[in-house]
């Protein structure tokens, strides 16, 4: 004990707790055996985890009981250390040499920053090229995700079909939903990427011609150019102009009518 410490309170060890400690160790061994048996035979997850939990809890009990069975618990008073130091260790070097050293460091660091910017630049390309670019061009066929092209007659009234451009089926930015309205029978294709947070606008409520994003419930009017009806999205859902090619397949008549995806800040 340090000279500046004073014992405030001592609670004597309680040897009878060692019985509990022995019991806890026994349970721990039992749990370990159970875990081994379970692993060797079926390795069922809940049983294994429960065996592990029992093992860990009984070790905790064993530690606490062994400690209180063997040691006295002492509350000790001690001085709080360290009043704040007023002497500045930096002052040991003359101010003028410190200044020139710092100036040199700043100059060296700024040249380093200039060079570090170059590899950073390679991380990504221009935002407009990456965030809003799609593969839709005039004449590109609309295909389902397994590559099947579509005709008008393939679309039942009140249906919604996920479509992608035949030219690049894996391009996430180009995902669209082809809807056929129940009342008028009109066919529209809208971007599948919500203009709010970028989730997939995958719910079509045919009775009211609504496209709904299940993430945050932005609701767009599929019969009226993807106008916002409710929810946090601030831009309408981009619409893909459609046409029918000479063979009767549905094709795009250009890119979406506005930038796809969430608004860039």
């Amino acid at each position: 004990m340090a000279p500046d410490e004073r014992v405030l309170e001592v609670r004597a060890p309680r040897p009878r707790l060692l019985v509990l400690a022995a019991a806890a160790v026994t349970v721990a061994f039992g749990a370990a055996v159970w875990a081994y048996a379970e692993y060797a035979t079926r390795a069922r997850t809940p049983e294994l985890a429960l065996a592990l939990a029992i093992l860990l809890f009984s070790i905790a009990v064993a530690i606490l009981t062994t400690f209180r069975g063997t040691f006295a618990f002492r509350s000790v008073q001690g001085a709080r250390p360290l009043p704040a130091q007023s002497a500045d260790p930096v002052e040991m070097v003359p101010r003028s040499s410190r200044k020139s050293f710092l100036a040199l460091l700043v100059a060296a660091a700024s040249s380093l920053v200039a060079v570090v910017l170059l590899p950073l630049r390679s991380l990504g390309s221009r935002p407009r090229e990456v965030l809003h670019a799609t593969a839709w061009r005039r004449g590109v066929r609309l295909v389902t995700t397994d590559g099947t092209p579509l005709r008008l007659a393939d679309l039942p009234l009140g249906s919604a079909t996920p479509v992608v451009p035949s030219s690049s089926r894996d391009d996430g930015n180009s995902a669209a939903t082809l809807v056929r309205l129940r009342g008028s029978g009109e066919v529209h294709a809208y971007s599948r990427i919500c203009t709010h947070a970028g989730c997939s606008v995958c719910v079509f409520r045919a009775d009211r011609s609504l496209l709904v994003c299940p993430c945050h419930h932005s609701t767009f009017d599929a019969s009226n150019g993807g106008r916002i009806l409710s929810g946090p999205a601030s831009q309408p859902l981009p619409e893909l102009p459609l046409a029918v090619d000479d063979d009767g397949w549905l094709v795009a008549d250009g890119d979406f009518d506005r930038p796809i995806g969430p608004v860039v800040g």
């Binding site: 004990m1 405030l8 309170e9 609670r11 707790l17 692993y39 997850t45 294994l48 985890a49 939990a53 860990l56 809890f57 070790i59 905790a60 530690i63 606490l64 062994t66 400690f67 209180r68 040691f71 618990f73 002492r74 509350s75 001690g78 001085a79 709080r80 250390p81 360290l82 704040a84 991380l123 990504g124 390309s125 935002p127 990456v130 965030l131 670019a133 992608v164 996430g172 930015n173 995902a175 599948r192 709010h196 947070a197 970028g198 989730c199 997939s200 995958c202 719910v203 299940p214 993430c215 945050h216 419930h217 609701t219 916002i228 409710s230 929810g231 946090p232 969430p262 608004v263 800040g265």
Partner: protein, 426 residues
Amino acid sequence: MASALEYRLRFRDPLRRALRRLFPSPWSFLLGEMALFSFVALVLSGTYLALFYDPGDAYASVVGISTRVPFGEVVRRFHHFSAHLFLGSLVLHAARVYFTGAFRRPREVTWWIGLTLFALAIVNGYSGYCLPWDMRAGTATRMSMTTLASIPWVGGWLATFAFGAPFPGPFILGRLYLSHVFLVPALIAAFLALHLLLVVRLTHTDYPGRGRTEEIEVGASLWPEQTARSTALVFLVFGWAALLAAFLPVESVAVYGPFQQDASYPPLQPDWFLMWIEGAYRLIPRQLGFHLVGANFTNPFYGAVVLPLLVFGGCAVYPFVDARIYRTPRRDHHLLDHPSRRPFRTAFGVSGLLFLVFVSMGALDDRIAAAFRAEVWQVDVVWGVLTLAVPPAIFVAALLWLRLPLRSRGVAAGTADASQRPSFPL
């Protein structure tokens, strides 16, 4: 043997000093240690999972961990619930520090480091549930890209730099993985070390009580008392994670299926520690958006950038606000306040937490709408108004109630301080 080591390492004196460090006894002082040990549990179980995880084939490898690796699902669940314990104990620890005024001079920097740790823990929890790359993970990752992109003027660049390509692109899982298993944990470890170093330098706070003053601390030594307590706590924390793993499954992977931009998915909710941001995403009306000098200010920016900055920034400056309000003398404050003696602090903290709970409940707007057969937007309007109205009302009510004389609340004066005897958890 020991003297041979001592001859080469000269460790005996520092070790002796370290073993004599005092630790106060109230159980709430163990919440920070709980967070530390759940971080250890995360590192251990996470290292095991990394032996099987493959960012190039994320979904299949996670399904493999759950189905083909014996014990793999146990470790996955253990990792998952350790994360919940980590964040949960951080919240409780921060609340204990806040409501008892432990952040006061000279511990402001410790408080800031703690806030940084909390933010890092949230970030890593987030990347953690992006890694399985199921429908929920992909959607969450898409929202993180949106969040970056929503920052005015620089957002587009930040998003493309982070993702390197149109969403999802070939790099994102590798980068998320690197940040989840190395970058952020390394930062957490570094800040944890700083946090603990400051705790050692500045000593523990304590409740007022027998023998405790601003100059003298009371507690049990690191050896043997605190060693026994802390070692037992390690096993208790691990035991809790294992117990939760035994009874609660980790959902998602099998439920939602792999992420595909064109797939349909049910309404999703994030884990509880991100629900406040998700709720803000839903509650903040689009009408608040505007355009200014080439930049767009939109809902994702308010919800996922402005709100967290306000919350963390508010917590960061609070120690100075508190010192102003209570005209705290400019000296060390090692003895803690009872929350009932600091009406503004307590009322502000309670209503602040209540606000976060209300915002988080906004993430359940679709479930509330289903329960009341209402439209989701109607729930958003009503709940948004309640979120803005109820916490301030509770603040005023709590302030008035706490400012009443102690007697009228049926609390005998003085009980607040006298009950704090050191007590061992046995």
